[in-house]
């Protein structure tokens, strides 16, 4: 069978009509974009139809982050449309962010007409060249008759295997030419591609070996990541069941938060640089580490030489290149997390009947000793608001609602990860891999569009939010009731913290003078602005924010010098955590550590 007869040819349309028809066939309801010369024919077609709703952002980076928020909160592919040249280059940060955090996106970029490509034409950029390393795949469509096939393939590639962003570059003549529309492959061909067919079904023999290790382990630990969430809500349900059945402790990466309910007994909190003491000590001391859909990122492992020295490691991942990349494992299992979890549970039920399992009492005793350190403690004494207190109160006052949290990047992000607790997947949207300041505001608007009834809150820092502050205008235009909870310490807090710990307290350029008045700024955009400066008023302010129907900025003025603890200093191991400011002089950061980011 050739590629051609997998599709059926339907009718002749112009390129722009083909684009819109393909989007409709792919069930795209929301499109984030910004017009320009090269994409005018597509915008003309958008004008003539009602199926796809176009959201006009204020900057192309915002469009991509909004699509990321939409994708991560709904499990659908996020779609972006930008023009050629600066439209495409502005999208690059968002695309890289989506690549690092495995977010399925299709980004359509305008391009100068094919006969001008390479001539340095107005608003020309080598978009496929520029985006090649920051996308999962990209295409330049040179013939309108390839257009529908390429678009359908782009959606397939974006959502299959380890998800990621796909760029389709569309020269203006191609979207104006007439050509044939072909439907997406259906039925059995829907999940088959001539070259790209990721392995989803794990090797059952390896699953059985894994379960044998489960039964033998005296100090087991689940370490789960964003892969469980990307695998769909069913994976999170199966994971929860598996943890309950086995009684093993579990920790998650920043990206994995919500895949297992944080209110459960077995939950140890987040792992990594600003993870909990108990999670990191358990990673260090376990004798069996079961990694599901995480990638041994440097923020998680700390110093690789000191990383979990005495454990057997199982790694389940859909991306073969994630396995044995940073940490060498004993049992690699290639496959989709959901399928693997089903198989493990099945094997566990069979094997645990036949074989005695190890007693975990002493392991749990050890863990409760670590837990008793209460590593997230902080003291809210006077009226100066501690950032941890603000986020903890936000959690307490919103936890029973349909809440979705996005963040920017920095201290507030880590505090949000520590103090906001998630019981469901797809409720936590943060820039993990790339660490993109300016992610949270546009992401929040995308989340709100995907979840119209949800309470969407961007826990932000005052420095980060300014990086995409123009999207307030988008929020207001579409009447999106997004809440922006700015943890305002006037510093780039994480930069300041590192300067304090590593650079002798020389706060080089990390203080922002002349910040805008966020209350007036909100009002200037036509939304509600509030400020809270005293601890005793925090609850009241949060309640007012969430009970306001429209969008709100709540500027929470917090302690300027608070640091984010616990912390694994650069170059240190999991068992060398700093628990608080009193710890910091004990272990100066090594020279090797200083080089690390």
């Amino acid at each position: 069978m050739t590629e051609d007869n997998l599709h059926s040819i339907e009718e002749e349309l112009n390129g722009a009509q083909i684009v819109l028809k393909a989007l409709q066939e792919q069930s795209v309801q929301v499109l984030f974009g910004y017009p320009g010369g090269a994409v005018l024919p597509i915008y003309d077609q958008i004008f003539k139809q009602n199926y796809v709703k176009h959201i006009l952002v204020r900057h192309e980076q915002g469009a991509v982050h909004a699509a990321e928020g939409y994708a991560r909160s709904t499990g659908k592919v996020g779609v972006v449309l930008v023009t050629s040249g600066p439209g495409a280059t502005n999208a690059v940060t968002g695309l890289t962010d989506a690549l690092m955090d495995s977010v399925p996106l299709v980004c359509l970029t305008g391009q100068v007409p094919t006969h001008l490509i390479g001539n340095d034409a107005f608003q020309e950029a080598d978009t496929v060249g520029i985006t090649r390393p920051c996308t999962k795949h990209n295409y330049l469509v040179k013939d309108v008759n390839d257009l529908s096939r390429v678009l359908h393939e782009a959606f397939y590639v974006a959502r299959s295997g380890r998800p990621g962003p796909v760029v389709v570059d569309l020269p203006k003549d191609v979207v104006m030419d007439k050509g044939a529309y072909t439907t997406a492959p259906r039925g059995i061909n829907r999940q088959r591609h001539k070259t790209y067919n990721p392995v989803t079904i794990p090797d059952r023999k390896k699953i059985d070996v894994a379960v044998d290790l489960f039964l033998e382990a005296k100090k087991p630990l689940f370490y789960t990541g964003g892969g469980v969430i990307n695998s769909g809500p069913k994976a999170s349900k199966t994971l929860t069941k598996l943890v309950d059945e086995t009684g093993f402790p579990i920790t998650s990466t920043l990206m994995g938060l919500g895949s297992y309910p944080s209110s459960s007994e077995n939950w140890l909190g987040m792992v990594g640089m600003h993870g909990t003491y108990e999670a990191n000590m358990a990673m260090h001391d376990c004798d069996l580490m079961i990694n599901i859909g995480a990638r041994f990122d440097d923020r998680v492992t700390g110093n690789l030489k000191l990383f979990s020295p005495n454990s057997k490691k199982i790694h389940i991942d859909i991306d073969a290149s994630s396995i044995n990349k940073n940490v060498i494992v004993d049992l690699p299992i290639l496959g989709d997390a959901s399928v693997a979890l089903d198989d493990i549970l099945d094997s566990w039920f069979k094997k645990s009947k036949l074989k005695n399992r190890s007693n975990l009492d002493s392991w749990w005793k050890k863990i409760s000793k670590w837990k008793s350190k209460d590593c997230l403690k902080f003291s809210q004494v006077d009226q100066v608001i501690k950032p941890q207190f603000a986020i903890k109160r936000l959690y307490e006052l919103t936890k029973d609602m349909e809440t979705f949290i996005t963040t920017e990047v920095g201290q507030h992000q880590m505090w949000a990860a520590q103090f906001y607790r998630f019981d469901k997947p797809n409720r936590w949207m943060t820039s993990g891999g790339l660490g993109t300041m300016g992610y949270g505001l546009p992401a929040a608007l995308g989340v709100q569009l995907g979840n119209p009834g949800g309470l969407v809150i961007d826990i932000a820092g005052e420095a980060s939010i300014l990086m995409n502050i123009q999207e307030l205008s988008t929020i207001v235009q579409y009447r999106l009731p997004v809440k922006l909870f700015i943890v305002n310490n006037q510093y780039m807090g994480m930069v300041r913290q590192w300067q304090e710990l590593l650079h002798g307290g020389r706060y080089s350029e990390s203080y922002t003078d002349s910040l805008p008045d966020f209350v007036k700024l909100a009002e200037a955009y036509g939304m509600k602005g509030m400020r809270v400066e005293k601890a005793e008023n925090v609850d009241e302010a949060i309640v007012e924010m969430i009970s306001t129907k429209g969008p709100v900025i709540l500027d929470v003025v917090v302690d300027q010098k608070e640091n984010c603890f616990p912390m694994i200093p650069s170059g240190a191991g999991h068992n060398q955590m700093l628990l608080g400011p009193e710890d910091k002089s004990q272990q100066p950061v090594s020279e090797e550590g200083m080089v690390l980011v």
């Binding site: 060249g129 090649r132 390393p133 330049l140 070259t195 390896k206 290149s321």
Partner: protein, 182 residues
Amino acid sequence: MSSNLYEGSIPPAIFHDNQVFSHTISVIVDNEAGVLARVVGLFSGRGYNIESLTVSEIDKNSQLSRINLVTSGTTQILEQIKAQLGRLVPVHNVIDLTSKGPSVSRELALVRVDVKDDLIDELFKISRIFTCKIVGLDKNSYVFEIIGKTARIDAFIELVSQIGSCEISRTGIVAISISRDS
């Protein structure tokens, strides 16, 4: 049970070995625009070595190209390279010829030697030993064609460069497994 733990995968001990190996890897790809840039960009972006690289279409009807490359690294790096190549969308197949079993590799070089009259006999003697052809000549300049393994070509070049000044053009290696893919 631990006996079958490492069945079907590479045991950690082998990964922990820091010895560097040179491997010849063939990548079968769709012959589409940008595919070579994807492969080369992967190597430069992730800091892997390319010691040799050849590309050519091998099947006109199905538009397939074969990229042969020689790279070096520890087992961990080599496995990572193969996994990274394998996940590129236009890649059909990644074949590690070095670890897969017997294979042959060849390279072609064109070497122009500019030589003084009194050394011509010496030059011809060497070229006869290496059974290379003269494919072009000018006054006191001879262009030799030599085909063989990389080491053989290296040896020829080293010898003739002692006789006269050389300009060298090499294809890089092409390689193939001697038995049918299982």
